[in-house]
């Protein structure tokens, strides 16, 4: 059982809390993705779990044991560093074999395991080379190989694909997912990349300024963001935010934001009602803004918007719209006609909007 538990973990560097009171549980064999803006403490969390830094307070458990005072080498954890950290004076073979040699694995077995790992990662032809003689992508794979060859209980990966080109990244991503299934290990994976986060993680933890914002499945995060930060961070293009008002109107709840007037469906009205507020921030995902013609106008009132910019993405397009006193991004089908300067009446799916407190930025329901 290689569960990883962080219990109210804080790490301070001087006065700055790089990790602030974070509690989270990574289940056995789970693939947890850690995301957040630069400097939010992702690497620091990995380093704490690995034992490269000591916690300022709180507890870390790996498996069933408390590891706060366990040396890194005894935690049975492998880490892939953000900048590879290969042993520059050793060949690829020796880089992979190093940990096995230290564990006094028999030579024959070392050779076999290194070759097997190299085959998995497509490194067979490179075993005699030094890191200097490898491309960035090859180095990255060696770094992965060095972690894999040990067959540890827990993998920590710090943006392991960040230096690969787009194609290699997609390919390696798929490899990693397969690998994770085969190795049956627990993985904590740090990334900046939305797509990586959404496609790889069984759950995603979103961090900001050292504080854990939310932890959920990819769809859970996307559909039910806990606050405006998570809502804006997950999804591309970002969620639209409009300031608006919540009003009772003929017995039903209505949200008004400029020209936009939406009747909340009854199942959502209950939650919003209990929030007991009038000022709200309305969050609308770009795909929930559609040209008026393509949606049944059932409780949806079309609003007038003019098109500022159109970005063609191939299979879809992003349309930047101006409303009377707000702007919106819509994500629409390529077949929908829209060009800059034109008017485009749009409707917003009232059932899918998000509401947030303007002050606390927390989701209202």
């Amino acid at each position: 059982m290689a569960r990883v538990v962080l219990d109210r973990v804080t790490k301070k560097f001087g006065e700055v809390a790089a990790v602030n009171d974070v509690s989270l549980t990574v289940f056995d064999r789970e693939f947890l993705v850690l995301v957040g803006p630069s400097g939010c403490g992702k690497s620091t969390i990995l380093r704490l779990v690995a034992g490269l830094e000591d916690v300022s307070s709180g507890e870390i458990r790996v498996g069933d044991g408390l590891v706060n005072d366990v040396a890194p080498k005894d935690r049975d954890i492998a880490m892939v560093f953000q900048n590879y950290a290969l042993y520059p004076h050793m060949s690829v073979f020796d880089n992979l074999a190093f940990s096995l040699k230290l564990r006094r694995v028999p030579k024959q077995q070392i050779r076999q395991r290194v070759q097997q790992t190299a085959a998995t990662l497509g490194l067979e032809g490179l075993l005699e080379r030094k890191p200097k003689q490898l491309s960035g992508g090859q180095r990255q794979r060696v770094a992965l190989g060095r972690a894999i060859v040990r067959e540890p209980q827990v993998f920590l990966m710090d943006e392991p694909l960040s230096n690969l080109d787009a194609q290699l990244r997609v390919q390696t991503r798929a490899e990693l997912i397969k690998l994770h299934r085969r190795l049956e290990a627990t993985v904590i994976y740090v990334t900046h990349d939305q797509v990586e986060a959404m496609t790889m993680g069984s759950r995603i933890a979103v961090m900001r300024d050292g504080v854990l914002q939310q932890m959920d499945t990819p769809t859970g995060l996307y559909d039910r963001p806990a606050n405006m930060f998570v809502a804006g961070f997950i999804g591309s293009p970002s969620m639209n935010f409009l300031s608006g008002r919540l009003e009772r109107h003929n017995g039903s709840l209505q949200v008004t934001a400029g020209d936009l007037v939406l009747d909340l469906p009854p199942e959502r009205a209950a939650g919003a009602d209990s929030a007991n507020t009038q000022e709200v921030v309305v969050g609308v995902r770009p795909e929930d803004v559609q040209p008026a013609a393509s949606l049944v106008p059932n409780g949806h009132r079309p609003i007038n918007a003019s098109v500022d910019v159109v970005e063609h993405m191939g299979n879809e397009k992003f349309v930047y719209l101006s409303l009377a006193n707000a702007s919106l991004v819509a994500r629409i089908d390529v077949s929908c006609p829209a060009s800059a300067g034109e008017n485009l009446p749009v409707v917003v799916d009232a059932g899918k909007i998000h509401l947030f407190h303007p002050a606390t930025e927390e989701a209202i329901f």
Binding site: I77, Q82, N83, P88, S99, P131
Partner: protein, 312 residues
């Protein structure tokens, strides 16, 4: 269709002179770049070196105020002199022990004081301190350390029952005694180079090794030492040159004695020149020493080239 150029139209002579002019231009440019160092190296290093090689071929002692050419006679005389061989043996022993020991110790100390320990600044300063002392002053201190019976060395050994050694008067003890002082004097100096080297190494590589299970001696052997090989080559070159040039402490402590047991090459050179007033022989010893140092540096710098690509 073949395009034929009339041979006469090829300005081959002109081309050649152009090529020459280009090469000459590049040469002049290169010369210009090294000119500042040349201005100092030529009169103060190259010229004296040439002069010393020339004078090593002349008989020039008190009996011969007018030097006369004797070919390799001075070298033959040195090679036939028992004292010269004893001095060579002493020098090689001295370098052979002090260089690896002071370098090894410097590396270990550097690794220690590179850790985030309390008072680490104090330790660094204390270890570097002997380097700042002038050698002559340091030698005076060690004169007291080695004072028979009363000195620090004997007092310390007295704790274990063995007392009263004539450190500097006993032919068997004098060279080791000088080595200890040399190591004490040099280690802090080399430690500073290693400290700089260590701080230039990528931290993550060591962290990766820690996760892979390396610790202590294994970490040192498998990572620290190979990764610092560039520094080691550099430091060992300096260390070798320094050990060949050891002379100050001999003036204060032993004068090369007893019975040449602690005589080293540079002091012997001094004795040939300014005690025996045989400038021809002194020049010959100088040439031998230059040849040795040159050979050592060449070997070392070849290794530096090989080691350089470890550093990332």
């Amino acid at each position: 269709m073949q395009l034929e150029l009339p041979a006469t139209s090829l300005p081959s002579a002109g081309l050649q002179s152009l090529r020459f002019r280009v090469t000459a231009g590049r040469f002049a440019y290169g010369l210009l770049l090294i000119l500042p160092s040349l201005v100092f190296l030529l009169p103060f290093t190259v010229w004296p070196a040439i002069k010393v090689v020339v004078s090593s071929l002349f008989l020039a002692d008190i009996a011969h105020p007018q030097p006369s050419f004797i070919g390799l006679g001075n070298f033959a005389a040195e090679f036939g002199n028992e004292v010269f061989w004893q001095v060579m043996r002493n020098t090689v022993l001295f370098a052979g022990f002090t260089v690896p020991l002071s370098i090894g110790l410097a590396l270990l100390l550097a690794v220690e004081v590179n850790k985030k320990l309390r008072l680490v600044g104090v330790f660094r300063t204390a270890l570097f301190y002997p380097t700042i002392l002038p050698t002559v002053g340091a030698a005076a201190i060690w004169l007291f350390v080695y004072a028979p019976g009363l000195g620090l060395a004997d007092r310390f050994l007295g704790l274990f029952g063995s007392y009263d050694h004539n450190w500097l008067g006993d032919p068997a003890l004098v060279l080791p005694a000088l080595m200890v002082m040399m190591i004490w004097k040099q280690t802090g100096y080399f430690m500073v180079f290693y400290l700089a080297g260590l701080q230039g190494l990528p931290q993550e590589v060591f962290e990766a090794a820690a996760l892979d299970g390396a610790r202590g001696w294994r970490m040192l052997r498998s990572l620290t030492i190979p990764l610092l090989s560039g520094t080691t080559v550099f430091v060992s070159t300096i260390a070798l040159i320094d050990s060949f040039q050891t002379v100050d402490q001999l003036f204060i402590l032993t004068q090369g004695g007893p019975n040449n047991a602690s005589n080293l090459l540079l002091f012997w050179l001094y004795q040939e020149g300014f005690r025996n007033f045989n400038f021809g022989r002194a020049s010959a010893v100088t040439v031998i020493m230059m040849a040795l140092l040159l050979a050592v540096s060449l070997v070392n710098y070849r290794q530096l080239d090989r080691a350089a690509h470890y550093e990332s």
